[in-house]
Symmetry: C2
Subunit: 425 residues, 2 copies
Amino acid sequence: MLDKHAADVVQLMAGIGRAARAAARPLAIAPTSAKNAALDAMADAILRNEAAILEANAIDMTNGVEAGLAGSFLDRLKLTPARIRDMAEGIRAIAALEDPVGRVIVAWQRPNGLEIERVRTPLGVIGVIYESRPNVTADAGALCLKAGNAVILRGGSDSANSSAAIHACLVEGLKAAGLPEAAIQLVPVTDRAAVGEMLKGLDGNLDVIVPRGGKSLVGRVQTEARVPVFAHLEGICHLYIDRSAELDMAVTIAVNAKMRRTGICGSAETLLVDRAVAATHLVPVLDALAAAGCEIRGSEEVVAAFPAAKPATEADWRTEYLDAIISAKLVDGVAGAIDHIETYSSHHTEAIVAEDQAAAERFFNEIDSAILLHNASTQFADGGEFGMGAEIGIATGKMHARGPVGVEQLTSFKYRVRGSGQTRP
Amino acid sequence: MLDKHAADVVQLMAGIGRAARAAARPLAIAPTSAKNAALDAMADAILRNEAAILEANAIDMTNGVEAGLAGSFLDRLKLTPARIRDMAEGIRAIAALEDPVGRVIVAWQRPNGLEIERVRTPLGVIGVIYESRPNVTADAGALCLKAGNAVILRGGSDSANSSAAIHACLVEGLKAAGLPEAAIQLVPVTDRAAVGEMLKGLDGNLDVIVPRGGKSLVGRVQTEARVPVFAHLEGICHLYIDRSAELDMAVTIAVNAKMRRTGICGSAETLLVDRAVAATHLVPVLDALAAAGCEIRGSEEVVAAFPAAKPATEADWRTEYLDAIISAKLVDGVAGAIDHIETYSSHHTEAIVAEDQAAAERFFNEIDSAILLHNASTQFADGGEFGMGAEIGIATGKMHARGPVGVEQLTSFKYRVRGSGQTRP
């Protein structure tokens, strides 16, 4: 790791931006075979360099322990032979995805004979700013490459050695396939100023930023970035149990939506139960959640019906616990659920359990969140579960990408118009 | 027109933003029939209030003449009964467009039975900042409404009275259909500070800005906006005549691409001719352009072959003339054309004339502009010509909207997932 003064960092980052932009054009027209050859060579290099990666990771782990990092943080940082194999397999899975570049999205003909098609193109240069999960280096680098984009990776300082060792394997893969090395660059300094330069857009050489990490990182990027951002700040996801819900299904989905994994963005944070079925549905659902180890924070009515619940405060409706805690409230039917969700949701993912199709359609139409589910768990909010392959994250913005951001969402498009000499009258 | 101090403008604009956001939700779920009823009522109101609109316009024209505005400016400002009829018909044409909101873009099923669909939703609140073409008030207001968006219109101060009279008709239409009046707001002050507030995003209540006007307006918006912008700064469009081009077609397309209308963004500004056919194609094409009244600014080789041409300077390759002037240069085949275009283009629209399909495909693949045409005039770069109906402009950015920005490009999307009790393993 270099240690640089601010002016040096500005210069360094500007150079990285220029190199990325220069790499973007050959990448944009690189054939699928070259991109896949690079990805396969990257996976090979990662497996071949397992020892070196583990050694680099051991340095990061030692530093992390000395720095007193939390256990959960160290767990995310730690690499094992199995995790390295997963990383290589993840890259091969990205190679196996259909190449989005050049794909015709829609085509039509005009009365004057012009044939128009909208085809996918790469976006250009993507910046990925992430915390200390070293595997993001491989995942994000591979995904951006598949979509024909150059990428600038800025990993957390705590995983700097691990990321550098992985990055070296990616560069080996690029070289093996004859693609520009600057297609995947890792920022070689840990100064926070480097992030600041990326947020300013590197003199127009950065087209979009994807932050991967906790709320403070994403919040900083969303607030300060002068370029578009694909991200979600938080996933305050709701599960609504309608009066028409089958009780068994409601119980099963509630437990899965909250408890399958509590630390992911698609985990349910608030349970809304239709007041019309409070007598029959509320307690069984809460019983099942409590039995699974979940703490309940309820509205007054909920606490009255389920005394084991703690009283919820206004802040609870706005909190992404990312933990075995759920807030719970009675609402007046689907209209009440929609009102609550439109007030408190982070517009990530919401689910309704209902047999009444009209209630489900109303929920689908009137709630403006990236993902809405009917009779399914909120934990399906994931690009892999959507069949989109690997994802670089989930976006709650409305511009360009929304929901899972996979290889297709990392593209733009252009129009191709074929004529036979047409002029405009 | 009010005259306000800066703090008042900040407050005023914040209130406009809040009102727009509040209107956006009912608008987003308004049925197609209500939106179309509002549009029809707007068209009726415009026709019914012809006298009032002409009277307001007469005030703007008198002020404009007194202020010494240029003739072309006054021509754009002037309304006539025919122009008012066109405005009303334009609104009816927007009513006739298919409603994009709720349209399923793509649908698929997962092995676990989940049915996933991506459906169009409104974007939210759109800001339109335009110069003194009063008809933009009607066009932009109607187009945003059709896509279910609230819109904040900020027209030029020189057309303030005309825009206000037209806006009153739009509000009449909204009221007649029971839609919120704040769905289409016209900023009632002419302070430049109002624009500044819009560029800052009105506390998150503005989702995208569309500037409509000259380069200085668009440049300011692109540089200062903290929200996404749909725009093109300029249209430095190229026409390339390949060695395989049919001479007659090349001549016809060149004259049309440059001279049909010289003041539109899709007008060709640079002619590139394959050196291999310099002897046969260059002079006839330039002769035809000159005969049509076009000034030629050529590279040394072009001037040698066509002495009536003036010598081009480096600046000519970077200039959008918007006038009866074209720059001209010989290039080494399609590769040379691509190099020149990728260096100098504004990535708006480029055309190739060629019988060689491989040359055309290479041109299509390797040039990263919003619109590419083969054997057709660059002047087809227009949403109407694309069959997309009315457009609010043409965008050269790569995020979200690119090329003509019509009603579909003014939408976002969400995912609807239908299950039968699925939980994630």
